[in-house]
Amino acid sequence: MRYVKVLIMLLALGIIWTKVSFSSDTLTPEEIVRACYARFYYAGEDMRAKVLMELINKVGQKRVRELTMLRKDYEDGGNQKYYMYFHRPADVKDTTFMVYKYPERDDDRWLFIPALDLVKRIASNDKFSSFVGSDFSYEDISGRKPEEDNHTMLKKEMINNRTFFVIESLPKETSEYTRRVLWIDEANFLPIKEEFYDRQNELYRTFEALEIKDMDGILTITKRAMRNVKTGHSTEVTFQEVKYNLSITDDIFTERFLRNPPQQWLKE
């Protein structure tokens, strides 16, 4: 009897073991992209980061955008609110920007121009428009819903001893791209590379994660780049300070703090 018990236990363990080690194999491409979307765009309950964007044109001329970003999630994969305060360049310093993101419909966006004391509502039906002149679109910044594309697993690829899912995504409706290929790290579901193809099926943009760090126990892409291979323009983004789960209150994302930037979150 004892042997039988041990045998059963061993069997059970074996089954569990097999389940665990092969779990990522049983995931569908949709589930992998969804996990990546959650890890990349919804890490933590909220986040504060100082973001440095370097916009580099084809002759190497550099422009700099520096901003503090606050993000609060209302539901994983669901509604989010963003608050941004611009430190640089000088001509937009103190400008603030607020976005309510709804996966099911167009964002609500507000811009505050301090010189005019003006709160402007920004029309936002173009998700593919560039964010502050960079190579990142609004959609790249706040995420594209996985359900908007059909996903297929092309292969698994080993790079530097790490395994990546290589997934092809084809938009269900007309989009800026006609095809996207995404490399997702099997171990942590972070996207390390993306390729965007246009209507001629030519590569026009590439995304690359350049640095990944553990911030507050959450693996975070702290340096990333988007390159437009057709124009030669590129953008490098560095997250200089990243903090998660700060209990940022709801009222930060209102006209009150759009007009009066919240000092407690902006201190350098």
């Binding site: 000088a90 001509d91 309510y100 004391d117 029309a123 173009d126 960079s134 201190k267």
Partner: protein
């Protein structure tokens, strides 16, 4: 111009020297700008026939969150200062200094914000059209092609904002009246009823400001909140018409700013794939509530609707319709003398905006049009701005007011068509 550049250089270098010495001090930012506007057609009525702007400007600003362990820092106090040094060569002046902002903002409790001092005040939903925003504007800056920032004039005010659960409240107290800056003849010719036509330097009229006393304080109130994605607001203003539209003493060519109460409301939100807005205002002319005093402006009803849409590829378009009705029109007509100029009961105004960005949003091309089918006049504003680097910006533009008559808002400005260029270095 040499002298101007020299003064600017001295100011900049001393500011840099100062800020370098003391790293603890607040950071200073701002810009240096050279601007010129040539007239498209000569205007012999004004001081200079060929141009209407030639100036150098230095702006310095700072925003300082008060540090340490004191009452000010506990209240999250922020001091703001912004001042412009201007060499206005149109008037051969030796230079002037204007403090545009000097104020302290603080939050004594979790639900109260206070901002005291000189500040720019704006609310309402219109695009270059203002119904419930009765805070002072500078229309000379608007017509000659200065940056939009200069359309708004600062007010010396106390602004108290309250944030209870149900509705947000902004209350503004303005002890001292600041009027709109309107064309006066030296720089921009305009319609002067005393001169019986479009007039320049020959204009001798003057506008008398209300005295600084308790009963002349102005109050402005806004209640606002959001309903999902839609913002709603109610407005109240008690003060004076910011433009001089009433006659104090005809023989002495004196105008004045009649007392005004304004009541209004607005909504703004997502609409048909873009942003829609609507605003209404009722201006009650307190000194001529019946409308039968020919010297004082009547009560007016105004409303507007607007729509803006993002068409993709950094192309945005917008349109607005503004309706104005002079109330008690029969009484007004009845009271007029045969020699008086008179204005129509209704005014319809349409506007259109189109903005396109190129080259990674470093080039902006914009066109804004006002067109009034009832006044048979309009005003086209076109501009092109190029961010050469993060510091250098070059802006070109034209201002084309036009009209059949010389007495309507834009028609009276028709001799002031210009083309301008501004070069700015921001730091």
């Amino acid at each position: 111009m040499m002298k101007g550049t020299l003064v600017i250089a001295v100011v900049i270098s001393s500011v840099y020297a100062l800020s370098a010495q003391a790293a603890e001090l607040p950071q200073w930012h701002g810009f240096v700008e050279q601007a010129y506007a040539g007239r498209i057609s000569q205007d012999r009525l004004t001081k200079h026939q060929d141009y209407n702007m030639l100036e150098q400007r230095v702006q310095l600003k700072t925003r300082y969150a008060i540090p340490g362990e004191n009452l000010f820092s506990r209240w999250n106090s922020v001091a703001t200062y912004k001042g412009d040094f201007l060499l206005d060569e149109y008037f051969d002046t030796t230079g002037s200094y204007e403090v545009r902002e000097i104020n302290l903002a603080f939050s004594p409790t979790r639900t109260i914000d206070i901002k005291a001092g000189r500040q720019v005040l704006t609310w309402g939903t219109g695009d270059y059209l203002f119904i419930n925003d009765l805070f002072p504007k500078d229309y000379i800056s608007f017509y000659i092609g200065r940056n939009d920032e200069y359309l708004k004039k600062p007010s010396d005010a106390l602004r108290i904002s309250l944030y209870p659960k149900t509705v947000n409240i902004d209350f503004v107290l303005i002890p001292y009246f600041t009027p709109n800056t309107m064309p006066e003849g030296d720089r921009l010719s305009f319609f002067d009823s005393f001169q019986r036509g479009i007039t320049g330097r020959a204009s001798e009229r003057n506008a008398v400001k209300p005295a600084w006393q308790t009963e002349n304080m102005q109050y402005a109130l806004r209640l606002y909140r959001t309903f999902g994605s839609t913002e709603g607001a109610l407005y109240y203003y008690r003060g004076f018409d910011p433009s001089p539209r009433s006659y104090l003493d005809e023989a002495n060519r004196q105008l004045f700013y009649e007392r005004l109460d304004a009541y209004g409301a607005s909504v703004r939100g997502s609409f048909a794939g873009g942003i829609g807005n609507a605003e209404i205002g009722y201006y009650r002319s307190r000194q001529d509530a019946e409308g039968n005093n020919r010297l004082i402006e009547n009560s007016i009803l105004k409303w507007l609707i607007g729509y803006e849409k993002d068409l993709g590829n950094d192309l945005k378009v917008g349109a607005q319709y503004l309706f104005e009705q002079k109330l008690d029109y029969a009484a007004y007509k009845e009271a007029l003398l045969s020699s008086d100029y008179f204005w129509d009961e209704y005014r319809h105004l349409l506007t259109q905006r189109i903005t396109k960005l190129y080259k990674n949003q470093t080039v902006m091309v914009g066109l804004f049009n006002f067109w009034s089918p009832s006044d048979k006049d309009g005003y086209a504003r076109a501009s092109c701005a190029y961010d050469i680097t993060d510091q250098w910006k070059l802006t070109f533009g034209i201002n084309i007011p036009w009209g059949e008559d010389g007495i309507t808002d834009f028609g009276m400005m028709k001799k002031n068509k210009n083309a301008f260029v501004r070069v700015r270095y921001s730091f």
